[in-house]
Symmetry: C3
Subunit: 666 residues, 3 copies
């Protein structure tokens, strides 16, 4: 493992820590528990603006300096956060214009978090001041191994519609379109006489009797996201002036932002997520996707629960015993350098009192304490092997795009949810034993052999160019369903059904229509499945070949899967979603077929719920085998292997994996 | 068929056409496709205000004149629309007071349509100016065969609650009640100390802690509808000053308006609807109801899809192959002179990109193209027979009233939905082979033999008088359930349970209460069924007779169906809704019983899903037999018949009707 | 029975009466029907402010004086109400700032009721003026036997968030906390940098991106409730200056108020409720709970329907024949002195036209009339026996607390609903034949032997002290589930899991976590059941004993039920909710076990749906046996008994109880 800059070559085990909420005297007990549990890094400060700056302009980092000093003295590192998600009362008191305003026109209020518009100039100024103060005060502190900007951007809020945003929106539009006529043309704004005379007339997506123009909706999402990235950029620039420690943000694909822009100026990826132990697959897809933000660099699991998440109005059931250990091991084995809990001590106040922690509000071990000890024991056991090896990435990826998600928010068709759809594709391949991951569309695709791009309504030119290069270099690109239907402006192409892709793939979209429940069945590679969602049905042009054909429905006989050689690789068009169980089987068959052609290396076979994570070290390759579902299973060993932890030899054949067991085998 | 004024004696086949959204050069290709598909009329202009008047006061109809010229030169007629559903940005920019405001107090914004209050004086003035300009410019153009006012009034919005409306409301109330004391008395406003001192204190139905007074709610609906009709009236008057072409509006019974007032100044009926092919019965009930707007005059199906409707967030499945042809044939056979699609070319922008069309956004045939060709072939086949014959209306009708629907919006009891209830009544009779239709309560009832008036909480005096005349002339009037419960002011009668009807029908409402789930069963004409909804149970007075009696429940033994001879006809009271399958059977038996007594002529017998539409010509009567459900069926011929299309003789007995087949038989 | 002050020693039978809504001439007919039905008391005036004061300052009580005179002359008493739930239009016309504002920031409007902020100073002044006028005018009228303040406080509205309330909130906070630092500490306001610099910065619980701090939410509920009680207090003080008649309020546990504060200055309890006949148990739990407001004093059922309730948008099914009689008998037998209907004559206007009544809007008997006659016959039959005897309260109670409900509104965990949970506990014990009731937590607990306190997140010190006294005097206190989890400030205790109770009960909360669906099973007293909701699992300290142990789940082996002797009694901790049918059985077994130990006297055994209500008179004890469910059942007589109504002897054994039958047996 190549550690992150500024960090040691080790696996970090951390926790979110809020010493500002407790008597300073309690720190001693915390230190004892940190040592007992092996916690060697804490994340601090992200909600502590009122501690750092209780009155406007009265800034002191003394408290945090004292805490970081003590932690450092005890061998505990700190990831220090900018506190901008929780503006103090003096920032909004008497300033309603600074508050976030939703699409219903309702202003938010002080009392929770993210209630301020991050585009408000006064807020921006205050943000720069506090970040500058933090960075100056602690930027060179040896205990600060990294920085986190803000926290969970856009976790509670979408697009702000305040009057500051209105003005910036008009500026942004002018920069994007140059003239209002260009905007009118791009958006087809003559429709419904929406046509604008000046940029300053273009509304925000505030309430209308029906729905807004798709182009406006999607553009407003991009505007919002761009300015959020700009807001973060200000913080990053300030931190860098005073600190060499790497900077990250704690993100989550469920939030409404553009991770491409957010992570561009950052040094490493980190995220939080809280699937319960029955949804362990969600944690694995996170490991894949966040690894692809900065390929070759470790990522961090910045927040996850020791047992369950919760707030006043809901909570999960606690993880079953043993799960936390394998969740953490899977993270480390998949390329995480850090695995950190939220939170150290149960909140005594606020709105998250029911969230799992390491210690209770009364300072005693919670049900999460013993699992934390177990994680630490596992870490000690595997650390040597993991830091001297590297995760070997899969050769198949499903491209994931926040922009594609933005298009689908605007145009959900049949209540389509991009996240759910992507996770289902991932699960379809993963459960078939295909070594794959969700990968951000902005990542470096060298190293992959098969890429699948479903549900990307608009294929940006830049992405298309990279995919073409990928294909020409020998890759297989499986395109669709629903990919290419819209232009960059969220309009329908007027040259052909799917724009440029049709030319590259040698197809013509003959019909484009909703195929759900029409009786249409797809037949391909010996599989048969009903088709669903919006479909593009093809005729082949030139040298492309039909792979799958539609039977029944309103226009039978057309192709829904085609194949075209391009350079040393190929483009496979998938014009409609195969549905149900048969559809899953068809997708598996399709991807397996191309994986085989592409020479994708398959992992050891396992039963469902048991996974093998490939690593390479100086001696070659080894596997981290883990039973993730707690039901037990087995790994199929073609040849005798060595258990790297015990040194014992494991005979060929089926290796039993008891519930939540793990083995490092070569 | 007596064609509409200004129109030829032929069947029109049309499409909504938006040349303003596409390069003018594309018109040539459109003309070629119009000819290929047989489209001989287009509807234009309804959303094109910004094209006609891009800046306030800068009006030019040149573009549309050019288009209409070209269409006319190619034998294609135009229905030209006023563009008032989509006010340009200059109409609201800087004028928030012109925006529609909903009952939650939220103002709408520019970006979709119907966002302006149609009562706003500035909007009204702009509306008059643009309509005047259109009518002057094109009112005498030979290509303009008809006008459409606005489009789909109230399709997205209900009652506006802006301050303009507040003032007009107060004026309207003063005109209606004269003194505020009269209003207080009429509304029972002493209840909850609601009593007003001045008209200008009467609130709009804006949010309250519980619900508004029923009288206020219903009155506000009537106020809103009256002013919407007044708004249209201004347009109609202007058009008539410059054009002899007939004027219509594109309506739909799902919208919240009063079609009686809307269609009074208009020349013919038109509507749109988009049931999918599984809901073909909804299209048939539309044909009936819209025929009754102007009895004896053809109507138009002004919008329906070639395949499916859709917008960003939802779409239907496409029609099965063959359906469009029979949908159109059923329209023509039921009295339509025109059948027109929405829309010609798929929207490339806006929010309806997924709606079915004839051409795709890239100018190619869609899945709807071949069905359109098929419709045209059918039209050519049947046109001669249909234009030389007339639709023979059914002799049974269920009276439909937008006012009754308004009362039920105010007082939905058990989530009752007037539209659903009426369609269920229609389906109950229709599926029993009874020749019936939904008929607007304002229509001319001569020609009917049996009228059913369910769910009309308030029976207006004018309607009552016409029904009494109908009965005295020999008709049978079946009254109820839920009919007569309320006064014109949406209060409970204080003289007896159902007001004047009780006298006419010779009944006394002994008890009036909710009978759902009380265990009460109705017994009548050999049928037995549970009773539901609010019930009025009767004792007979004078010469009236008990037809149905209640068993069980809280007050057994009373009548729920009675019969009274009146003049040469009779009034049948139905005091409670027979529920479930048994209830449907009871309603069928009841109506059949009176239909037989009244000498109603029954049509040819068919299997469910196959219909026969009666026509008469110089030679007598013939039938248009159609399989509507695509499942195939048969028609029962008592005697040999002639197939009018082939000239062949069909033997007596069961005539097979393959899926979506049609036969014209005499 | 000790009658209420100012009242006769008899059972009253009443109705809500709105003579102001009808022609004064109709009173004669009403008087005739009052006599025929036995109605001897009416409640009047609660919505009649506009009749008393049609214009601001023009007050006349003449109308009501005339009505009360006539009623009194006819032997009918009056409960006179203050009319403040329905402010006249002149109170809000031109004064939007007086209107109630909800948490979404939406102002209410005139047109229903409770639309004014009861904290608005102008409203308060108008309220004092009208109440003073009423009390002066009619405070000594011999026909006025009692007063009712307002009506159904907070039935439609929760916490007002207007600017008046904002100011008062800040004052209230200052009074409560003294310094803003104290507030910050109490609320843990450093969390999310919520920290306040001044009291006037503390927001109302208006909309935020996520949820407000729990302490703020709960405090705002308490603030609102305190000021509502203060508002009533003003009225009570005024009435007392001019009248000796007792004062009550018509409440309901479904409303959002603090009955402890509301009833403190009042003389007797009254309430309304409208369960339909299938939910007869809800009426019984009401009788218990409202009896405990003023132990030893009769209560009133101030409103219930003769047949069904209803308004424009919904209604119930009518009661089955016979139910009303037993509903009333159960009330009288359980300690009611009055039983009164809503309403006398069906509303002809407003929004409650579909509500059941005694007379129809047209002045005829409704389906409720005959049941009313039947109630009166029953009353005449039993009155002598009941007025010369007393209800004997049960020895088991489940403590009910509006404050506990407020905490759960803030923190509902798994959609927990305090009211539903409490009713389920009651039903669990009641259906097991355990003589129990829901009892307000502020009541006098002497006389009980076993008290259960489930779902009380915070246990106030005052309550704890009374419970400790109860236990020390020999009582058994069963504590939990979910009891004691939070401090008075709605934070988590920081000394131990459940605060002071742990010391008293000799337990330590080892783990506190959500146990639903974790596979944990509780085993106790031979029962076994899954556990659910938030759990506190215990280790015993000192002399306490484990009664129930957890098997399975994430931390098996701990106690979830413990027992500790305290003084002459004991404290039983129940740390988790036993779930499902087995859970109900476990709760029954647990409470039965301690009831037996405590020597609780059990009633006669009955079949489910038949109840026996114990009464005592000079001759000893007798039972009012009633079949409540209308299905019939039986009572088990251990020995021969006397039927007090017929004087006949009933043999020992099973006494059949036909549907809705009742027997008074000794």
């Amino acid at each position: 493992m190549q550690p992150l800059p500024n960090m040691q070559k080790k696996l970090y085990y951390g926790s979110a820590y809020y010493p500002e909420l407790w008597p300073e005297a309690d720190i001693a007990a915390d230190l004892a528990h940190f040592k007992a549990t092996g916690i060697d890094v804490v994340r601090m400060g992200e909600f502590a603006w009122s501690t750092m700056e209780p009155d406007e302009g009265c800034i002191s980092l003394d408290f945090f300096r004292r805490v970081i000093d003590r932690l450092h003295a005890n061998g505990i590192d700190t990831i220090f956060c900018t506190p901008t998600p929780t503006p103090p009362i003096w920032l909004t008191d008497g300033h309603p214009e600074r508050l976030f305003q939703d699409e219903q026109g309702r202003r938010m209020h002080h009392g929770a978090r993210q209630h301020v518009c991050t585009n408000n100039p006064a807020f921006r100024e205050c943000s720069r001041i506090i970040v500058e103060a933090q960075a100056r005060a602690l930027g060179r502190h040896p205990g600060v191994i990294a920085w986190q900007t803000d926290n969970e951007f856009a976790c509670h809020v979408g697009a702000c519609c305040c009057s500051t945003c209105a003005s910036l929106w008009h500026v942004w539009l002018e920069q994007r379109y140059g003239t209002v006529d260009a905007l009118n043309t791009a958006w087809g704004a003559e429709i419904w006489s929406e046509r604008y005379q000046r940029f300053d007339q273009v509304p925000q997506p505030l309430i209308t009797p029906f729905v807004h123009n798709a182009s406006l909706q999607t553009a407003y999402r991009f505007f919002t996201r761009a300015l959020l990235a700009e807001f973060q950029r200000e913080q990053v620039d300030i931190i860098r002036r005073h600190s060499d420690a790497p900077v990250t943000h704690n993100s989550n694909i469920g939030f409404r932002l553009d991770n491409a822009q957010i992570f561009k100026p950052l040094d490493f990826a980190s995220f939080d997520d809280y699937p319960d132990c029955d949804n362990w697959r969600h944690m694995l897809d996170n490991y894949g996707i966040w690894r692809t933000v900065k390929p070759g660099r470790p990522f961090w699991v910045m927040e996850t629960s020791t047992s369950h998440n919760g707030y006043l109005a809901a909570f999960q059931k606690p993880h079953r015993t043993g799960y936390l250990t394998v969740e953490a091991l899977a993270a480390y084995a998949s390329g995480a350098q850090g695995f950190s809990h939220w939170l150290w001590r149960q909140q005594r106040a606020g709105c998250e009192q029911t969230h799992g922690a390491v210690l209770s509000a009364w300072g005693q071990p919670t049900i999460g304490y013993e699992p934390v000890l177990a994680v630490n024991r596992m870490r000690r056991e595997v650390e040597g092997l993991l830091v001297d090896s590297e995760f070997r990435p899969p050769e198949i990826a499903i491209t994931y795009s926040d922009a594609a998600r933005a298009f689908m928010f605007t145009e959900p068709h049949e209540n389509l949810d991009y996240l759910q759809l992507m996770r289902r594709w991932y699960a379809t391949l993963f459960d078939a034993g295909l070594p794959c991951e969700l990968a951000f569309a902005f990542t470096d695709f060298s190293g992959y052999k098969v890429l699948c791009t479903p549900y990307m309504y608009h294929v940006p030119a830049e992405f298309m160019a990279r995919m073409l290069a990928f294909v020409q270099a020998g890759g297989t690109w499986i395109v669709g369903p629903l990919t290419g239907l819209r232009t960059a402006e969220h309009t329908v192409p007027t040259d052909c059904g799917l724009g440029e892709i049709e030319v590259l793939a040698g197809v013509e979209t003959v019909f484009s229509f909703p195929i759900t429940n029409t009786g249409a069945t797809g037949e391909a590679l010996g599989c048969s499945a009903p088709l669903e969602y919006w479909a593009s049905l093809f005729a082949c042009r030139g040298s492309s070949r039909v792979v799958g054909t539609v039977k029944g429905g309103v226009v039978p006989g057309l192709a829904f899967i085609t194949e075209q050689d391009v350079g040393r690789g190929r483009i496979v068009m998938l014009g409609a979603q195969p549905a149900g169980e048969e559809g899953q089987a068809m997708i598996r068959t399709l991807v397996s077929h191309y994986a085989k052609l592409a020479g994708v290396r398959l992992p050891l076979k396992t039963t469902l719920g048991t996974v093998v994570i490939p690593r390479t070290d100086a001696k070659g390759e080894f596997w981290v085998a883990i039973n993730m579902d707690g039901a037990g299973g087995s790994v199929d060993l073609a040849a005798p292997a060595i258990d790297l932890l015990s040194g014992e030899t494991i005979p060929a054949g089926s290796l039993a994996m008891p519930p939540y067991a793990y083995r490092l085998i070569r």
